[in-house]
């Protein structure tokens, strides 16, 4: 049963990838035939199909295997990207864990005291309207003055994005038990702490995991933007920035590095899915 399901998932993913590649190549082929016009009309295509804007998929894949220079050594592109992705993953992971901790702490605080919800929630919302690009250099400069490593500063930027969905959905989840359940715990003379662990946290899980998936993606976005604005030599963000500047010459490399970032995102998503399966294993068996 379990392997059958795994095979089905892998097949679905494969079919989607094949479909997207065919779409890409079909569009490109059509554009090349009609000189970037919709067939039989003078209407231009929205995206040009030359090799700079839309390199062949095969070329992107080949590029992943091509040797490139990294400092004094040379290595295949995919190894280079893996190395970079590992740094970004570390930053994102620290950012995610910090964001989870801070977000949940805020959610618990707000669910405990109505006053703190009224005082904090507006600021939590406002915090997300500050553009990351403006915030990143501030955090980095501050971090360097405090003697923090750049890795930590980038993680903090990532935290800034991840704590938000956790805090908001966490609060909703903690407040989700209906009054009958709360009253039941009250009738047992259960303390606030006991009610939190036996009722509120378990009840919050279905609200929390979708938010964690979002937070997972955001943690990578935060890490990449952090790397770019900090000018850190390591990390995927740096690679993407360099290849973006040289896009006109090596378009395949930019696409290859973006594929790297996408894989990192999928990896994180998969890890959170596994955690969800573990923490919700008991209710999963029952169809709702």
């Amino acid at each position: 049963m379990k392997t059958a399901k795994a095979i089905r998932v892998i097949l679905t993913v494969a079919v989607v990838i094949v479909f997207l590649v065919l779409l890409w190549e079909g569009y490109k082929w059509m554009g090349q035939k009609t000189d970037d016009h919709w067939p039989g009309t003078n209407f231009g295509l929205p995206i040009a199909t030359n090799d700079t804007i839309m390199p062949h998929f095969v070329d992107v894949i080949t590029e992943l295997n091509a040797d490139i220079r990294d400092g004094r050594s040379t290595m295949p592109m995919y190894a280079f990207l893996l190395k970079k992705a590992w740094f970004t993953f570390q930053e994102a992971a620290i950012g995610f864990i910090l964001g989870l901790t801070i977000g949940m702490s805020l959610a618990i605080l707000m669910s405990r005291w109505k006053v703190s919800e009224r005082g904090l929630l507006p600021w939590i919302n406002v915090s997300q309207t500050i553009p990351l690009i403006a915030l990143a250099p501030v955090v980095v400069t501050w971090g360097r003055n405090q003697g923090l490593s750049d890795l930590i500063s980038i993680s903090l930027i990532s935290t800034y994005l991840t704590f938000f969905p956790v805090a908001v959905s966490g609060l909703r989840g903690l407040q989700s038990p209906d009054s009958a359940h709360v009253e039941l715990m009250h009738s047992y003379a259960a303390s606030w702490r006991t009610t939190l662990f036996k009722l509120r946290l378990p009840a919050a899980r279905p609200f929390l995991f979708p938010a964690l998936k979002l937070a997972g993606s955001l943690s990578i976005v935060g890490a990449i933007v952090g790397e770019i604005s900090i000018g850190r030599k390591t990390g995927l963000g740096r690679a993407i920035l360099e290849y973006a500047l040289r896009y006109a010459i090596f378009p395949e490399r930019l696409y290859a590095s973006v594929i790297g970032a996408a894989f990192l995102g999928l990896l994180v998503f998969g890890m959170i899915n596994l955690a969800e399966r573990y923490f919700m294993r008991r209710t999963r068996e029952v169809a709702s």
Partner: protein
């Protein structure tokens, strides 16, 4: 049944949203004494304050005026001492816990060992005639089965007092009658005191030693009807004493309606 007092309610008023536009006088000047081991039903039109009275006894609400004593102490102390078990109208089971874990919840909070807990939850499952359902999840059970689990949960720590708010409201007639017999059996076996809210005249007549008829706006005790059917069984439902008791309750309820 002995003569010691289990619940003593003295001149209790309950006002919601006092001194506001939406003020509701839910209960006014309630006096009621319930003896240990007694089975007392509360009946009355919707909104007359039955649930409110039950919540006052359970210290889930505080009286605006007057006092509620449970086993000779304040209702608050009785709640802290876990003297009562409560069954709400909706089963209120935790979805993420298996049936047995739901029954064990109060035991867990009381610090019972795992072994004792599982022994007791199995006993309780046998008692409510669901011996093989311990490892199921609540959503895999019918509404009536869930309600029986919530009764098992309330009984699991053998409380001296059982507060039940329309526990059989969601059940079909046959299951309901079956559960009534079960409840009486449990009551006789354990000797607990029961306060039972219901909308059903036959149910209150069949189950209780005394039926308290409440009148609404503001909620007051209209009359208290003694019922003496001896040991009850299925055949009691055809008994002339049973019909007489039901008729007396019905007439009291009519009088309440006409009063409005």
């Amino acid at each position: 049944m002995n003569e010691k007092s289990a619940i003593s309610i003295n001149s209790v008023d309950k006002v919601f949203n006092e001194a506001r536009e939406d003020e509701v006088i839910a209960l006014s000047n309630i006096d009621l004494d319930i003896k240990e081991g007694e089975f007392v039903s509360l009946i009355g039109p919707s909104g007359c304050g039955k649930s409110t009275l039950l919540r006052l006894i359970g210290d889930l609400l505080e009286p605006t005026k007057g006092s509620v004593e449970v086993f000779g102490k304040s209702a608050h102390q009785a709640r802290v001492d876990q003297d009562y078990g409560m069954v709400f109208q909706h089963a209120g089971l935790f979805d993420w816990r298996r049936v047995s874990a739901n029954i064990e919840l109060p035991l867990e909070l009381h610090g019972w060992s795992k072994a004792d807990r599982s022994t007791r939850s199995q006993e309780m499952l046998d008692l409510v005639k669901l011996p093989d359902f311990g490892s199921y999840y609540p959503r895999q059970l019918s509404g009536g089965m869930q309600q029986r689990v919530s009764i098992a949960r309330a009984l699991s720590f053998k409380p001296k007092l059982l507060l039940m708010d329309e526990p059989f409201g969601a059940l079909d007639e046959m299951t309901r009658e079956h559960m009534q017999i079960e409840l009486l059996r449990i009551w006789e076996e354990t000797g607990t005191t029961v306060v039972f809210v219901t909308h059903s005249i036959p149910e209150s007549a069949f189950l209780s030693n005394r039926v308290v008829v409440l009148s609404p706006r503001p909620g007051q005790v209209h009359s208290v009807i003694d019922v003496d059917l001896g040991k009850r069984s299925e055949s009691t439902r055809q008994d002339s004493n049973f019909f007489a008791a039901a008729t007396e309750i019905r007439e009291a309820l009519r009088a309440v309606e006409e009063q409005e």
